[in-house]
Symmetry: C2
Subunit: 351 residues, 2 copies
DNA sequence: AGGTACTGTGGGAGCGCTCCCACAAGTGAT
DNA sequence: ATCACTTGTGGGAGCGCTCCCACAGTACCT
């Protein structure tokens, strides 16, 4: 059955040519059938498919990649250390969405961590070698060189949060502005009058948009915006603590806090407790992300949910379209694509 | 600078041939330099390296894969739904070890989930297409067809827990037998006399070995093994509850429980509490895995730690060696490799 | 002087595909 | 009957490498 201990070569994997011979057609025709070209007669297609089945033919990806100049793979680049990837549900939700969008595709997903400098260097090599057809970029900081590198190399890419209002890359984002409005309107609706906001890192575009939403929601409800109720944070717990301390000092009469992340809210909560404020009786608290923290907090935290899984799906769909546009068939569409998905307020006991 | 809107082709990525021309040598010589062959003179090597640097040459992986019949990639196959992958620290630890072993290699790691039938089918296609040089297999059930498929396809593979005492695949395991002994000897040392054992799924080889370790530890300490103190579980929390209930009924006088996993121990703990037994005063409890659960349990759980990260590293090293052995150079080593790494008892308040 | 061995090098052949040109056969308008 | 398409098909060329054979050059024995 097996060839007597010969080197490895020709282990017997059938090639296109062999399938063609078997089906009594030419190589080109088999290729057309494999790739689902419509310009093949029904009879021929059936014959080829039979031959493929009989021989157990599986296309050689390397040969295809070389000839067609593509890899049939995209990368999900996570510019964070692995630890965060595993601890934050953000990534696993995202991954699920990406996986779903890819599931009836031939595309392969590579997961690439680029947390350390070393890893980033590897990544650069990787991209320079064009080992993927496209890149999915999540949670990129404003000054990250990665996006530019990608456009330089002309590798299609989709980013999960635009870096600014005029992001050049195709992007998918949740409605940070609207989400913030939802949160603040909710607080107003509950009769809160003095609503503070602990922001995220303001070099992140999404954090800016949340501030905008906060402001506009107050204004439209006829409230005046008190700048001293806005305190910058950095998405972290410590940042939340510091900001809350500052706010309490400046505006001890506040009766609600909208924090730009659940983690920030957790920090704020500690300080509020220490100051003897009851939640939600004295101060209502709303977070952002609807993470596990929100559910497990005491009391459970009202939070703005982002549709992360859908974002993953949307990003992937957009990327696949861009990759397809690059192929030699190519009726280029090329309009700039920015997609924004709606958020949802999850009400819990903290507000 | 850029070519006027020509199709994509020849975007200008330099080829081996161009490097050769630039360095004034032949194609073969450049290939030798790139691949670190020793049969190149110092002067030539320097000239080639200069040319490579000047042109920014990056090898085309597809061409290399086609010509050399290899992919420079290995897969970590996780036969579990993604959810578990993210929730259980086991996988993230494993991944870190694998990453470390790969970090100064050209090898690329693919993460493949094979939880659903659909995913498994994709995986089968994937392997049939020989898209990876080798496979790392973690947490495989006894009746899984995957290992056999791999040997059929002659794809090097390393498995994380042997399926039986005479596993044919190269395997890496932690010392389940020794770990169980550590746990039981510890309990004996603390003066416990009636030590029960809730096993894991007994179709898992490692679970059997833990039972063996439990038995031998008792015997060697001069205790008699009471078979009614051994109750089968299945690594789950519910299994732990059920087993504990059975044990409490049969042997109400027990003063210690060794559970085959932390999750099992958590289930047992609930039942013990409900029965009014204090931990550790009335009943000492020891788990296995040293997972997050163990640290956060009330009281914190003594547990057997497996060196998972090191296991990942060891598996990868072994796999890389096997892959190398398959290459046309090949001074075949081929001894069967089974590796067992030591465990460590982490003592906490529960015992 | 011839033989033998090694070292370093060039380049042909070929890996298994895709792309595309060429062309046969059919279809309908002129 | 001629021309102009369309549809389906075969197969050459070429993607960028690795492998390996051939061979020049040098070194060291007989």
């Amino acid at each position: 059955m097996a060839s007597h201990g010969v080197r490895g070569r020709s282990g017997g994997r059938p090639t296109l040519e062999e399938v063609a011979a078997r089906a009594g057609v030419g190589r080109g025709t088999v290729s057309r059938v494999i790739n689902g070209s419509p310009r093949v007669s029904e009879a021929t297609r059936a014959a080829v498919e039979a031959a493929v089945a009989e021989l157990g033919y599986v296309p050689n990806t390397a040969a295809r990649a070389l000839a067609a100049n593509r890899t049939d793979a995209i990368a999900l680049v996570v510019p964070e250390p692995e630890t965060r990837f595993f601890t934050e549900p953000y990534f696993s939700d995202m991954l699920r969405g990406v996986g779903a969008a890819l599931s009836d595709t031939e595309m392969q997903l590579l997961l690439i961590f680029a947390g350390s400098d070393r890893e980033r260097q590897r990544l650069a090599q990787y991209l320079a070698a064009h080992r993927v057809d496209g890149v999915l970029l999540v949670s990129v900081h404003a000054d990250d060189p990665l996006p530019d590198m990608l456009s330089q190399l002309e590798i299609p890419a989709v980013i999960s949060g635009p870096r600014s209002a005029d992001e050049t890359l195709t992007s998918v984002d949740s409605d940070n502005y609207g989400g913030a409005r939802q949160a603040v309107e909710h607080l107003i609706g509950r009769g809160r009058r003095t609503i503070a906001h602990i922001t995220g890192r303001l070099d992140v575009y999404g954090a800016q948009r949340r501030v905008d939403g906060y402001r506009d929601a107050l204004r439209e409800a006829g409230h005046e915006v008190d700048e001293l109720l806005i305190e910058p944070g950095d998405f972290s717990e410590g940042g939340g603590r510091r900001a809350m301390e500052a706010l309490l000092e400046r505006r001890p009469g506040l009766d609600a806090v909208f924090a730009a992340s659940d983690v920030t809210a957790a920090g704020a909560r500690q300080v509020l407790r220490e100051a003897g404020r009851r939640i939600p009786d004295d101060v209502a608290l709303v977070g952002y992300d609807d993470s596990a923290i929100a559910r497990h907090m005491e009391p459970p935290l009202t939070s703005v949910r982002q549709p992360i899984e859908e974002m993953g799906r949307a990003m992937t769909d957009l990327l696949l379209r861009e990759v397809a546009d690059r192929r030699p068939s190519a009726t280029r569409e090329l309009e700039r694509r920015q997609m924004v998905l709606a958020t949802e307020l999850v009400e819990r006991a903290s507000s």
